[in-house]
C-alpha cells in the first residue's frame, strides 16, 4: 500500500501492539490527539488508555518511567514530542537506559524504543528543528536509528521493537509527509546497523542519512553524475564496512548531514575512512553540513540548512580535485 512515513510508523506500531500486549506507548498528547504529528492517531481507541498513555508533561519521567516499564517486562515506546525537549531526559538515557545492561552484566536489559521527531526544513519555532543524533551516538549502549523513507521507517521500527536494546528512533519531521512509497502490509524487518545503498555510481560516494537523503538524490540526478549514495539508516553502531567499501570503490567521498558540522557524525565517518582507506582516495574527504551554530529561528532557516546549491558545489569541487 502507498504510505507516507507517518502512516508507515503508525502501521508498524499498530502491528507490534497486536503482536505483543507487552508493547505500550507513552508520551505527551499521544492518546486522543494522536500526537502532534498524528503518528499515533487511532491507537488509543484501538488499544485502550493503559496501552497508549497520555502522560503528564515531563520528559525525564517519560523516559525514566519507560526504563522501569522495560525492567518490569514491558516494551515501552515513549514519544518525546520534539527532540529539542529531550535534553530534559538526557540523564535517563545516558545514565540508565544505556548502562543498565552493563551495570547488571546483561541480567537486566532495557528494551525500549524512544521515538522523537528531528531536524528542520519545515519552518517551526525554536527548539523544534534540532538534529541531535551526534550527542546520542556518543553514548555506548544506546542504538541510534534514523530512517529516511516510509519503507525503512516501518521495517526499522519493527526490528527495533524486536530487539533487547534501548533504541533512539529519530523521525525526520520534513520527511513525515514528503512522499508516499509502496509499503508492504505485512510485518517485516529492516536490519539495524546496516546502511542502504540508495544508488550505484562510479564517480563519487555521498554518505548521508535522514532529511538529506531525498535532497542528495535529487541533486545527483539533476547533475547527471554517477554516484554511490549511502543512506546510513543506523547511526550508532555505524556500518563501517559499507562506508569503507564505497570509499574504496569511488575514491571520492562527500558526507552530507543537516546537523552542525563540528563534531558531527560526518567527523566520525571521515575519521574511519581516513584511518582505513586513506590510500584508496583520489581527493580529500568533504563534508556538507549546517554551520556550527544553533538552529536559527524559522525566518533564517533557508540560510542555514544545507541546500541543493551547497551540495552541488561540493560535488563539483570533489570531482575536480
Amino acid at each position: 500500500m502507498q504510505m507516507n512515513m507517518v502512516a508507515a510508523i503508525n502501521n508498524a506500531l499498530s502491528q507490534c501492539m497486536e503482536e505483543s500486549d507487552r508493547v505500550v506507548l507513552l508520551g505527551e498528547d499521544i492518546g486522543k490527539d494522536g500526537g502532534v504529528f498524528r503518528v499515533t492517531d487511532g491507537l488509543q481507541a484501538k488499544f485502550g488508555e493503559n496501552r497508549v498513555i497520555d502522560t503528564p508533561l515531563a520528559e525525564s519521567s517519560i523516559l525514566g518511567m519507560s526504563i522501569g516499564m522495560a525492567l518490569g517486562g514491558l516494551r515501552p515506546v515513549p514519544e518525546i514530542q520534539f527532540a529539542g525537549f529531550m535534553f530534559l531526559g538526557f540523564s535517563q538515557l545516558i545514565n540508565h537506559a544505556a548502562r543498565y545492561r552493563s551495570r547488571t552484566r546483561s541480567t537486566k536489559p532495557v528494551p525500549m524504543v524512544v521515538r522523537t521527531p528531528v531536524s528542520g526544513g519545515v519552518r517551526t519555532l525554536e527548539h523544534h528543528s534540532d538534529s541531535p543524533e551526534a550527542y546520542y551516538s556518543h553514548i555506548g549502549g544506546l542504538v541510534v536509528v534514523e530512517p529516511s523513507n516510509p519503507y525503512d521507517a516501518k521495517g526499522l521500527l519493527i526490528k527495533s521493537l524486536h530487539m533487547e536494546d534501548p533504541i533512539l528512533f529519530l523521525e525526520p519531521t520534513k520527511i513525515y509527509r514528503l512522499f508516499k512509497q509502496d509499503v508492504p502490509d505485512e510485518m517485516y524487518e529492516v536490519p539495524i546497523g546496516k546502511a542502504s545503498k540508495v544508488s550505484d555510481g562510479a564517480q563519487l560516494s555521498v554518505i548521508t542519512y535522514g532529511t538529506m537523503v531525498p535532497l542528495v538524490k535529487s541533486v545527483v540526478q539533476k547533475k547527471g553524475v554517477s554516484a554511490d549514495i549511502l543512506d546510513l539508516r543506523t547511526i550508532n553502531p555505524l556500518d563501517e564496512s559499507a562506508i569503507l567499501e564505497t570509499a574504496r570503490k569511488t575514491g571520492r567521498v562527500l558526507i552530507v548531514h543537516e546537523a552542525e558540522l563540528s563534531f558531527g557524525v560526518g567527523a566520525e565517518v571521515a575519521a574511519r575512512i581516513a584511518e582505513k582507506a586513506m590510500y584508496d582516495l583520489s581527493a580529500p574527504i568533504m563534508r556538507v553540513a549546517s554551520p556550527s551554530l544553533p538552529y536559527p529561528f524559522p525566518g533564517y532557516e533557508q540560510y542555514y540548512v544545507p541546500n541543493e546549491l551547497k551540495i552541488s558545489q561540493a560535488i563539483d569541487k570533489l570531482l575536480s580535485a
Partner: protein, 361 residues
C-alpha cells in the same frame, strides 16, 4: 468568595521510643518479641557488615563506600515488612535492605570491589545500586506501572535521601505516581545531611513528607531510628499501595558516619550534634527492650558477633577469589556485538589491554 480548597496534616509515628518503651496502642498485631529479636539481629549484622566494609576501604580492599551507620532501623524495619514479590528500587546506601532481600554477601563485596558482576543476579527483580541522585524514582514508577498492568499484586518500594527530594525527578515521579495510581511506596531517608548540606538548606518545607500532598499522595513521618515504627508504617503503606494508593514515608534518622569514605564530616558539623543523635541511635533502644524482657544478654551478643564475623569473612574470601574477565566489559553493551565494537575488543585483547606484563596476568 473565599473557601478552603485543601487542608492537610502529617502524622508522626513512633512505636518504640529511645528508652525502649513500646506504645502498645500502635504496636502491630504481628510484631512479637521474637520478631523484635530478629530485627535486632539483622540490624546488628548490618552494623557488623558496615564496620567491615569501612575497614576494608581503609585497607584499599574495596573502593569508595557509603556507610549506613545510624540508619539500620529504617532499612531493616522496612525490609522486614516487604512481601515476596515486592520489588525494591534502592539508591546506594541500602546495604541492609540488599542483605535482607537475600543478596549473597559475596556478591555485595564483589560490587564494592569494583566489578559489575556483583549485581548480575539472574531472575532478581530488585534493581541494583543507583548513583545519580533521584534518577531511579521514575524507574520505580515504571516498574509499578508494569506490575499494575500485569495485575501481579506486587508493590514497588523505592528509597531516596533528604537531599534527593530536591531533584526534579523526585517531584516528577511523585506526580506520575499520583496520576497513574501505581502500587508504589517511596521512603525518604531523612538522615539530616546531604554530604555537607543540612536538611534545612534542602527545603523550607516543614516536613519532607508533605511534598506528597502536591502530587495527591499520602505522606507520613516516622521515627526512622525506631525499627518497629518503620515496620508498621511500611506495612500499612504496602497495603495501601496494593490498592493503588501510593504513599510517601519520611523517616527521621541520622547519618552517624560519613557520606562516603571520601568525606570528612568534621568539616561541616559539630561533635555535639553527633553525640545527641548517638543517644537516639536505633540499636540501643531495642537492646534495652530485649534485655528488659530477658531475651538478650552479653553472652548472646558475643556469640552473635562471632557468628557474623565468620559469615562475613567467608563471603569476603569468596569475593576476593573472584577473577574478573577484562574482555567482558565489551560484552554487555548491546544484545548483539557491533562489528566496530568487536574490532576495539579484539585490539584490546591482542595487546593485553596495553598493560604492563608484570601487572597483567
Amino acid at each position: 468568595m473565599l473557601k478552603k480548597t485543601f487542608e492537610g496534616f502529617v502524622d508522626y509515628i513512633q512505636v518504640l521510643d529511645e528508652f525502649g518503651t513500646v506504645d502498645k496502642s500502635l504496636l502491630p498485631e504481628d510484631v512479637t518479641d521474637s520478631m523484635i529479636l530478629e530485627m535486632y539481629k539483622s540490624m546488628s549484622k548490618a552494623r557488623a557488615l558496615d564496620a567491615k566494609a569501612l575497614s576494608l576501604q581503609r585497607q584499599g580492599r574495596i573502593f569508595t563506600y557509603p556507610p549506613l551507620l545510624g540508619e539500620e532501623a529504617s532499612q531493616v524495619g522496612s525490609a522486614m515488612a516487604f512481601r515476596r514479590g515486592d520489588i525494591i528500587v534502592p539508591n546506594y546506601r541500602q546495604h541492609a535492605v540488599f542483605m535482607l532481600r537475600g543478596l549473597p554477601l559475596d556478591r555485595w563485596f564483589v560490587s564494592l570491589r569494583g566489578f559489575e558482576d556483583g549485581a548480575a543476579i539472574n531472575g532478581a527483580k530488585d534493581t541494583p545500586v543507583s548513583v545519580p541522585i533521584g534518577t531511579h524514582l521514575p524507574h520505580a514508577v515504571g516498574l509499578a506501572y508494569a506490575e499494575k498492568y500485569k495485575k501481579s499484586g506486587n508493590v514497588v518500594v523505592s528509597y531516596i535521601g533528604d537531599g534527593g527530594t530536591s531533584e526534579g525527578d523526585f517531584y516528577e515521579a511523585l506526580n506520575f505516581a499520583g496520576v497513574f495510581k501505581v502500587p508504589l511506596v517511596i521512603i525518604i531517608v531523612n538522615n539530616q545531611w546531604a554530604i555537607s548540606v543540612p536538611r534545612r538548606r534542602q527545603s523550607a518545607a516543614q516536613t519532607l513528607a508533605q511534598k506528597a500532598f502536591a502530587a495527591g499522595l499520602k505522606g507520613v513521618q516516622v521515627d526512622g531510628n525506631d525499627v518497629v515504627g518503620m515496620y508498621k508504617v511500611v506495612k500499612d503503606a504496602l497495603s495501601a499501595a496494593a490498592n493503588n494508593e501510593p504513599t510517601v514515608i519520611e523517616c527521621i534518622t541520622y547519618r552517624l558516619s560519613m557520606h562516603t569514605t571520601a568525606d570528612d564530616p568534621t568539616k561541616y558539623r559539630t561533635d555535639g550534634e553527633v553525640k545527641e543523635w548517638e543517644a537516639k541511635e536505633p540499636l540501643i533502644r531495642v537492646r534495652r527492650y530485649l534485655t528488659s524482657r530477658n531475651l538478650w544478654d552479653d553472652s548472646k551478643e558475643k556469640d552473635m558477633q562471632e557468628e557474623f564475623k565468620k559469615e562475613i569473612d567467608e563471603a569476603l574470601a569468596k569475593a576476593e577469589a573472584f577473577k574478573p574477565d577484562p574482555k567482558s566489559i565489551f560484552e554487555h553493551i548491546y544484545s548483539f556485538m557491533p562489528e566496530v565494537l568487536k574490532e576495539e575488543q579484539d585490539a584490546a585483547i591482542a595487546a593485553g589491554f596495553w598493560l604492563d606484563t608484570s601487572s597483567h596476568e
